[in-house]
């Protein structure tokens, strides 16, 4: 039944009267997301595409029972918006904003840690559970309902992968961009855990990139804890060290965070890594077959044993 967002999602849009906020509020509503409210201080009482606008999050939540918030406000105010959503009792917060200072994010991370809040982003495209709900900016028309989970640190590269999956006849349970910053609320392991526990997800595509060690940690997690097949892609094999490749988090520091290290870690954990994103559907098909075959053998041996037991 998808992860993090679904038909029960009641969405609040923070920064709904801004250029990006209003455009995407309409897009999300068009897609079928239950957008119940918007917030822009000073614009309370107005409407955007029929969505009521409030002056603050607490009022919006009290009136509309919003349970999820998406943030489109400029970087200087984004952290304040996250605090406001959390203090108003919202448990799922998605921050699209790019350029939030890492210092602010460190403080937020430790503030929400014990409050049971799921923060996705910042600097992310959000997520979509095809045909159920879309929160963020992932184009809905390239997605299709199905059973593959997609998790990525990127935006457009994710679209490329989703498009390849859809074209290859593979629908998705949920596609989620966790963000390209150094300090993000939800990491690969959080999402992989959710996919592992989600009955509608049969396999996961994981798209990483240079910088940090999240991919390496995720690989260990897959090896130890996951029963579902995972295939991967790592961007940045040609990235020079010390340069920030667009995303704040995409930087090779000294000798750590290289694509080669990440590919190695994934392979070691039994995760095949595609050279081109277009190879991912084929890799996934192969992995799913492999899993099925394995399951088959497990069942066979079980029945054999039981017959033996009976004979005894």
């Amino acid at each position: 039944m998808a992860i993090f967002i679904n038909k029960k999602t009641k969405l609040l849009v923070q920064g709904i009267t801004g250029r990006d906020g209003s455009f995407h509020a309409k897009e999300m509503k068009k897609y079928g997301t239950n957008v119940v409210a918007g917030v822009t201080p000073g614009k309370g009482g107005t409407k955007v595409a029929g969505i009521p606008v409030f002056n603050n999050v607490a009022d919006a939540v009290a009136k509309t029972k919003a349970n999820t918030s998406v943030i489109y406000v400029p970087p200087a105010f984004a952290s304040d918006s996250i605090y406001e959503a959390v203090d108003a009792g919202i448990k799922t917060v998605i921050c699209i904003t790019e350029g939030v200072p890492a210092n602010d994010m460190m403080k937020i991370y430790h503030y929400i840690k014990h409050r049971g809040v799921r923060l996705i982003g910042p600097n992310c495209p959000g997520l979509i559970s095809p045909e159920l709900s879309k929160v963020g900016i992932i184009p809905g028309n390239i997605c299709k309902r199905g059973n593959i989970g997609v998790v990525s640190r990127s935006g457009t590269l994710t679209y490329e992968v989703i498009f390849a999956l859809t074209s290859g006849g593979m629908g998705q349970s949920t596609c989620i961009g966790i963000g390209g910053d150094q300090i993000i609320g939800t990491n690969f392991i959080d999402v992989l855990t959710a996919f592992e526990n989600d009955r509608s997800t049969k396999g996961v595509v994981m798209i990483g990139e240079i910088g940090g060690s999240d991919e390496e940690d995720a690989a260990m997690f897959v090896k130890k804890k996951m029963t579902k097949p995972v295939v991967g892609f790592i961007a940045g094999r040609t990235a020079p060290p010390g340069k920030r490749m667009g995303h704040a988090g995409a930087i090779i520091s000294g000798s750590s965070g290289t694509a080669a290290d990440k590919v190695k870690a994934l392979n070691k954990a039994g995760i095949p890594v595609a050279t081109s994103p277009l190879e991912l559907p084929a890799l996934m098909t192969e992995k799913l077959k492999e899993m099925k075959a394995k399951k088959g053998t497990v069942k066979k041996t079980k029945t054999k044993r039981s017959t033996k037991a009976k004979k005894k």
Binding site: P75, M106, T156, L157, D181, I207, G212, G246, A248, S276
Partner: protein
């Protein structure tokens, strides 16, 4: 963003951390005048944004004014790992009895500033971390609470025994944390922090990297940006609102989104080409941005073909197409331009592109292969 050692030391001094007296010079005369003012043996230190200055001959000891002059002459204008040295720091040479490493980094795993201290100072800390990680003592600071004096003191005790030294180092750790937090740093480092024969603790080197996302509220730090240390095409791109990184290859790349831009570059390499750059035109795609992107890329004489790969989401393909048409008309490129525009408003884009009829390809892999082929690189 990186700042120079002398600028880092200015930040240290501003909060009362002990650094040796010194000033920065851009000419030999200035360098000699500063050395004269210090009136003791000095160090002449190249100010460049690259590690390993010492090994490259960019840091020298000068016993007297004559030596200071000779070294300033040699180091100013020197080339260290491809970067020209335009400035030298002239600073008092201090007698060293011990060298300690002290640094604070933004740690992605714990989501905390992590303080590191090691008695193995003065050398490359990555090497220490690699070979003898047990020699580095670490502390993750809860960013909501901040660094408390007892924590700093306990760290100081990991390396020092003498309470007089412990007190000085504790004070330096606390102040360094303030610098880290107040300037939105992603890294602050003193390597080495030294002790002198009379038991003084002094920061004789300093490195500060700033989180670019914090720059909007750090106008004083932004003033420290050394444009001469940056690639001119990268400065031009920044002004145009593009994220651009110059590389040495021959296939120019224009892509929307950082991840897709990297993936495109990787495929260029995979299929036998060499990317000339990383370029992300960003989310909102006004045609002007595309024109600027083309201008920057076509200005690179190494580029043999341009590859434009757009997966429209917020970026609208018709906007990009208008930009490409304008660029081709205005810039008259002599090299092949291969495009792939897919996603939002793709059909409209195709109509616009009819005007100039450039080679196209339907998928990521195919557009890369075509660009390499048309660049004449893959003829076997």
């Amino acid at each position: 963003m990186k700042i120079h050692e002398y600028q880092a030391k200015e930040l240290f001094q501003a909060v009362g951390m002990p650094v040796p007296p010194g000033k920065v010079a851009t000419t030999v005369q200035e360098a000699v005048a500063i050395a004269d003012e210090i009136n003791r043996p000095v160090m002449v230190k190249a100010q460049v944004h690259v590690g390993g200055r010492g090994k490259a001959g960019g840091v020298k000891y000068a016993e007297n004014l004559e030596a200071a002059k000779i070294w300033a002459q040699r180091i100013l204008g020197m080339d260290i790992k491809g970067l020209p040295v335009n400035k030298v720091l002239i600073t008092e040479a201090v007698e060293i009895t011990s060298e300690t490493y002290l640094g604070i980094i933004l740690d992605r795993v714990t989501k905390c500033p992590v303080i590191m201290i090691s008695a193995a100072g003065g050398i490359d800390i990555e090497e220490v971390a690699d070979k003898t990680p047990e020699k580095i003592h670490k502390l993750a600071v809860n960013p909501r609470v901040g660094l408390r004096p007892f924590e700093a003191r306990n760290l100081a005790y990991k390396v020092f025994r003498d309470i007089k030294l412990v007190r000085q180092v504790t004070d330096i750790i606390l102040k360094l944390y303030d610098v880290f937090w107040n300037v939105d740093a992603s890294l602050v480092e003193i390597n080495p922090l030294i002790t002198t024969p009379i038991n003084q603790v002094i920061a004789i080197d300093g490195k500060v990297n700033i989180d670019d996302n914090g720059l909007f509220r750090q106008p004083e730090i932004e003033q420290m940006r050394d444009l001469s240390a940056e690639d001119p095409s990268e400065i031009e791109a920044k002004k145009a609102g593009l994220t651009f990184i110059k590389l040495d290859g021959n296939i120019g790349c224009i892509v929307n989104g950082a991840g897709l831009a990297m993936a495109t570059m990787d495929l260029v390499k995979h299929y036998g080409g060499d990317p000339a750059n990383f370029l992300d035109i960003g989310g909102s795609s006004n045609p002007e941005k595309v024109l600027n992107a083309m201008r920057i890329i076509l200005g690179d004489p190494n580029v043999k073909a341009v590859l434009i790969n757009i997966f429209g989401g917020i970026t609208r393909c018709d906007d990009v197409a208008s930009g490409i048409v304008a660029a081709v008309k205005e810039l008259n490129p002599e090299i092949p331009i291969v495009t792939r525009l897919t996603g939002t408003n793709e059909a409209k884009a195709r109509k616009i592109m009819k005007e100039i009829s450039l080679p196209t390809a339907p998928t990521l892999d195919e557009v890369v292969k075509k660009a390499i082929k048309l660049a004449g690189l893959n003829e076997e």
